[in-house]
Amino acid sequence: MISDAASPIPLEGFLAVAAMLFCVGVWGLINSRNAVRVLMSIELMLNAVNINLMAFSNYLDGQLIRGQVFAIFVITVAAAEAAVGLAILLSLYRNRETVDMERFNLLRW
């Protein structure tokens, strides 16, 4: 698709979108009260990293697309993380009957 030398979209555009997505994910991770929303923020951050990997793979490593292979592994690990994270969340909810992150403070000094 982007085969001509003068690519119509600069690499920095993709990097800027990924940076924005990552920062929104970090903010949501810090500030969410709901535990499900914390997991969603983690998924946002993983997607930002994947966009970076794919952009570098296309612009700087066009022949051996190692970034795409790496992105596939990241997607796999993200799926496993989501499954285990939501199982932990269900177990927590059965014990504490809440999803408020501020009340999961049993190990806090």
Partner: protein
């Protein structure tokens, strides 16, 4: 497949706007069900960005795994734990939000500066384009074979771990020693949230 460059730029702008606005909606909307559906929209937009980057296989994997599995899993979790609860007020919440917002804005500025000042080695090698799927298959079965197999083991471990963590069985006695188990540590003795307990209706949860 070849698209005119103006079309590519318009697609990029639309997809980036959808991604950014959707992600802001995911973290800012008060209703978490809307957040989950917006998260699906963000995943679809990111898949569109992958298509702009010559990666049709990863775009398909993104749609299948993220939209089809992760997002549905999150929706199921929301349906399972969606109890109306009034969150207790926390002192200094606004200060915390503003401070973390400032930190994230600083991180964003730093990342942008790095992205725009680094002299990237452009133009790199010509992208393989539509042969990307073939290259990925070659990578997965030659030099990335060990991570590929480890990923399958990881998925098996995650599956068994999720089943073990989320199962509901409550034993009244310890399986190994036969002594009465302390149920307060495992699961609270309470009525299930979703079941109306009338006099003759059976309850699904085993009382210890």
């Amino acid at each position: 497949m070849s698209i005119a460059s103006t079309t590519q730029q318009i697609c990029f702008l639309v997809l980036s706007a959808t991604t950014v606005i959707g992600s802001l909606g995911v973290v800012l909307l008060p209703n978490i069900v809307y957040s989950a559906f917006l998260l699906g929209g963000v995943f679809l937009s990111v898949a569109g960005l992958y298509l702009l980057l010559n990666a049709s296989f990863v775009a398909a994997a993104q749609i299948l795994v993220y939209v089809g599995a992760v997002n549905v899993l999150i929706l199921f979790a929301i349906m399972l734990v969606n109890k109306k609860e009034t969150l207790a007020a926390i002192p200094g919440l606004l200060v915390r939000r503003l401070l973390s917002g400032a930190v994230c804005a600083g991180l964003f500025a730093l990342l942008l500066r790095v992205a725009f000042t680094t002299p990237w080695a452009l133009p790199g090698p010509t992208p393989v384009g539509e042969e990307a799927t073939i290259r990925i298959g070659e990578h997965l079965f030659t030099d990335y074979l060990l991570p590929f197999e480890l990923a399958s083991v990881l998925l098996l471990m995650a599956m068994i771990g999720a089943i073990v963590l989320a199962r509901r069985d409550v034993f009244s006695t310890d399986v190994i020693t036969g002594e009465p188990a302390d149920q307060g540590l495992i699961e609270k003795d309470r009525t299930p949230l979703l079941i109306e307990t009338s006099a003759n209706a059976p309850t699904l949860l085993t009382k210890p």
